[in-house]
Every structure is written in structure tokens, then in C-alpha cells.
């Protein structure tokens, strides 16, 4: 076993408890989705509002649908359609991406109080 192998095993061991906590924490329905294009935050959208979005990516428009608190890639210009096959997402922490089109969706529940930069009233 080389030094690099040992370091890899060590980092895996360190990461294990966090992975456990991440996957075994109670699942909550998401309220928002963050859409990133080319790694840049494009939009934060509420899953309360049913709508269809056309998000422009590297290869064209990905069609993202929101319905009854769920979100999915309805269509995308990629050939594999893996993003579409990911199906509906509804729980916080869920994630789907169309890698060829460089578009990703990450779901959030916003349990934290600072989900907005500022509050208007």
C-alpha cells in the first residue's frame, strides 16, 4: 500500500460519519430550488408555484417543470437524457443535473432563518 493509498483510506474514514449524518437525517420536503448554469447561481425558485422554465445552457434550453412542490428536467438538449430520467425531485438536498448543458438543480428547505438577504415589510 502506497502513502497515497493510505491517505485516501484515511480521508474516506474521516468522511464516513459526515456521509452517515447526511443520508440518515430526516427527509424534508423542499420549498425552493437553486438553478445553476455553468456553476453560477441563476435562480432561486419557489416550489409553491407551478410553472415551466426555459433555462439556457451550453447546448440550448433545458425545460424545467415545477408541479405541486416537485421539480424535474422535463426535457434537455443532451443526448443521454439522464437529467430527464432523474424524474421528479421534492426533498431538500436532492440534486439533478444536465452535465452536457451545464445546468443543475439543487433543492433546499431553507430551515435557516437567513434564507433571504433582506426582508421587506
Amino acid at each position: 500500500m502506497t502513502l497515497a493509498d493510505r491517505l485516501l483510506y484515511l480521508s474516506t474514514l474521516i468522511a464516513l460519519p459526515f456521509v452517515y449524518l447526511y443520508f440518515w437525517q430526516p427527509v424534508q420536503n423542499a420549498r425552493y430550488a437553486d438553478i445553476h448554469v455553468e456553476g453560477h447561481h441563476q435562480k432561486r425558485i419557489s416550489l409553491n408555484k407551478n410553472q415551466v422554465l426555459h433555462v439556457h445552457g451550453n447546448q440550448g434550453d433545458s425545460i424545467i417543470e415545477i408541479n405541486n412542490g416537485k421539480i424535474r428536467f422535463k426535457d434537455s438538449p443532451c443526448t443521454s437524457k439522464r437529467c430527464v430520467l432523474s424524474g421528479w425531485l421534492q426533498h431538500s438536498g436532492e440534486f439533478a443535473a444536465c452535465l452536457p448543458n451545464r445546468i443543475s438543480i439543487a433543492l433546499l428547505n431553507h430551515a435557516d432563518t437567513n434564507r433571504y438577504d433582506s426582508i421587506n415589510f
Binding site: A4, L7, S11, N48, K49, R115, S118, I119, F121
Partner: protein, 344 residues
């Protein structure tokens, strides 16, 4: 392979060293309210200096524009009572001139000349206490001989009133103009990304890093956020609501501070109005005017004042939105009734 693992591990470890987002937040208790300022991508020393300067400026403006405490506006009011021409203090002229224009555009619903009426209702105090509503006859007498911004004449730097009851209270525009001034200062200081929130009303410039500023609009009747929206460069979001600055009168009735100059009483029919516009002073005055206009007239007044993006929640909780507002708003609490209504 060995090299790959080392590079992989180093990359992971270095990931932890990534600097935290450059967000600088500060809260000021000035201008009779709480002012929250968030800056993005500004060096800490520069941010601290900017906040200090802003605090000084807002303290100054609070004194200058306060109609009831010794300062330029209260002195202006004393001199207006003589109904003779005098040389106005330059610090109050911009807000008076802007108010005259907005008074006309709002069909008189935004009327800062009714300071005496505001005083009758005791809404001029910083803290609003429960107590009796003013005498009906006094209100009636005031409304029958209503002072307006048309009674305030301006000739360059000279000014006079042609009505003995004119008393200027800029409460429905001062916050907006102050926010505008803070934003101007930030721009001059080379700060490109900021959000300035004065007592719930705000203006943003630039972005929050690689995304737009995210703003939540508080629900007028429930705890929590009614809706969220992205606020872009040079946009202000102002809300007037009946849940702010109110008191319970001797009959147990809740009386809020948005007075209808047509009746002399708190405006009816509306819970809140939210307006988005590039000019914070205009957005502030328009939110008040549309609130007073109510569900039957708000679209007409919005159009006259150049407001494209507005939302009104009527007394039953029904949400009315202009098409431009509906496009960008994301409800957190879905309203039972909502309607998109086009401007005339």
C-alpha cells in the same frame, strides 16, 4: 495513480481553505428606524468606514427632515405658517419639490401637507400608544379646508404657503429619499454590490456574489414570508401596510397610520401594497398613495405615477398583482385568492 490521489487529497484539503463569502452586514439604529446594510465583495476596513459615514449622514437627515423636532423642516413649517415668501433651507427643497410632483401624479393621495392631521392622530410620535381617536368634528373641519402641496409654492430657492394649515410631514417619502441617498453614497465610494433596508423598505445595487439579491416580503396577517423575489441592480422594494405603526382606540378599533386625505381617517380596503421601482423616493410615496387609493383605484394611480410593478392585498386577503409583478413573485404562502390585473 499515486500522483492523482495526492492531487485529489490536496484539492479536498484546499477546498476547506476557500475564503468565506465576502458579505458584510451591519445594523444601524438611525432615522427613527432600523437600517440594515449588506455589502458584498467589499474589504472590511472600507465597509466599516462606509457604514460610519452612512450613519452620520442618516442622523443628519433625520434631524433635517423631522417635522416635529428642531431642525430645517420644523423651521420651514414655522415660516410657512406666516404665508409669506422666505428663503428655504437647501436641505429641504429637494424633498419638497419631489413631493409637489408626486402629489399631483397621485391625484392628491400622497399629501405631505397634512402634518396637522398626522399630529391629531398622534402618529408623529416615534412610539405609537393606544388611546382615543381624534374628535370627529376636528377631522371634518380639517378635511373641509384641506391643505395640499399645491398650497406650497416654490420659486427657485424661495418658498411660501398659501394655506394657514400647511404643515409638512415627509414621513411617506423621507425613508425612500434617505435610502436613495445612501445608495448614491455607496456608489460614489466605489461599492457596487449592496442592499440597504430602512425599516423594511429597501434598495439594492449589483448582486450578492454570483446571484441576485433575494428578498422576502412579509405576510401582512401571518407570521412569516408571503413571497420572495429576486431584486436586481438599482431596484427598490417598498411596502406600506396597515400592520405597521397602529394603535387601538377607546372602542377597541385598530387605527393605522396611513391616513386618507379625502376622509381624514386611516385608509380602508387594503392590508398592504408593495411597489418595485428604481427610484426609492417614488416607490415610497407610491406605496402610500396606492394603499390609500385602494382596490378600486390603485391601478389608475400606479399608471399615473409610472409604477409597473405593484401588488395590493385587499382587506379580505385577496392578492392583486400587475402582470410585471406577477412574473417575478414567488409565493411561500399561497394566497387563497389572487388575480393578475393589467394597468389601464
Amino acid at each position: 495513480m499515486k500522483k492523482f490521489f495526492v492531487v485529489f487529497l490536496v484539492a479536498i484539503l484546499l477546498g476547506g481553505c476557500t475564503p468565506k463569502p465576502q458579505e458584510y452586514r451591519d445594523t444601524l439604529f438611525v432615522f427613527g428606524t432600523v437600517v440594515n446594510i449588506t455589502l458584498w465583495g467589499v474589504e472590511k476596513t472600507k465597509a466599516e468606514q462606509a457604514i460610519k459615514d452612512i450613519e452620520k449622514d442618516l442622523k443628519y437627515l433625520h434631524v433635517v427632515w423631522h417635522p416635529w423636532r428642531f431642525g430645517a423642516m420644523s423651521r420651514t413649517n414655522e415660516l410657512l405658517a406666516y404665508q409669506e415668501w422666505f428663503s428655504a433651507n437647501p436641505s429641504v427643497l429637494p424633498v419638497i419639490n419631489k413631493s409637489k410632483k408626486l402629489y399631483k401624479l397621485s391625484d392628491g393621495l400622497f399629501n405631505p401637507a397634512i402634518g396637522q392631521l398626522i399630529g391629531m392622530w398622534s402618529f408623529h410620535h416615534d412610539e405609537i400608544l393606544d388611546g382615543p381617536a381624534p374628535d370627529e368634528k376636528k377631522i371634518e373641519a380639517f378635511i373641509n379646508d384641506l391643505p395640499t402641496m399645491d398650497h406650497v409654492e416654490v420659486d427657485n430657492f424661495r418658498i411660501r404657503s398659501t394655506h394657514p394649515k400647511v404643515k409638512l410631514d415627509m414621513g411617506a417619502i423621507a425613508k425612500g429619499m434617505a435610502v436613495e441617498r445612501v445608495i448614491d453614497y455607496l456608489r460614489q465610494a466605489g461599492i457596487k454590490n449592496a442592499i440597504v433596508n430602512a425599516g423594511g423598505d429597501l434598495k439594492a445595487i449589483g448582486n450578492h456574489g454570483d446571484r441576485a439579491w433575494s428578498v422576502g416580503i412579509r405576510h401582512p396577517r401571518k407570521d412569516g414570508i408571503l413571497a420572495g423575489l429576486e431584486v436586481h441592480d438599482n431596484e427598490s422594494v417598498f411596502t406600506s401596510g396597515d400592520y405597521e405603526r397602529n394603535f387601538v382606540d377607546e372602542k377597541g378599533k385598530i387605527r393605522h397610520h396611513i391616513l386618507d386625505p379625502r376622509t381624514g381617517y386611516p385608509a380602508k380596503g387594503t392590508q398592504s401594497v408593495t411597489v418595485i421601482h428604481s427610484d426609492a423616493g417614488l416607490a415610497d410615496a407610491a406605496a402610500t398613495a396606492l394603499f390609500i387609493a385602494g382596490p378600486s383605484q390603485w391601478l389608475k394611480i400606479a399608471k399615473q405615477m409610472g409604477i409597473q410593478q405593484a401588488m395590493l392585498i385587499d382587506e379580505h386577503g385577496k392578492v392583486l398583482m400587475t402582470p410585471a409583478m406577477a412574473k417575478r413573485i414567488q409565493f411561500e404562502i399561497e394566497p387563497e385568492q389572487k388575480e393578475i390585473v393589467a394597468l389601464p
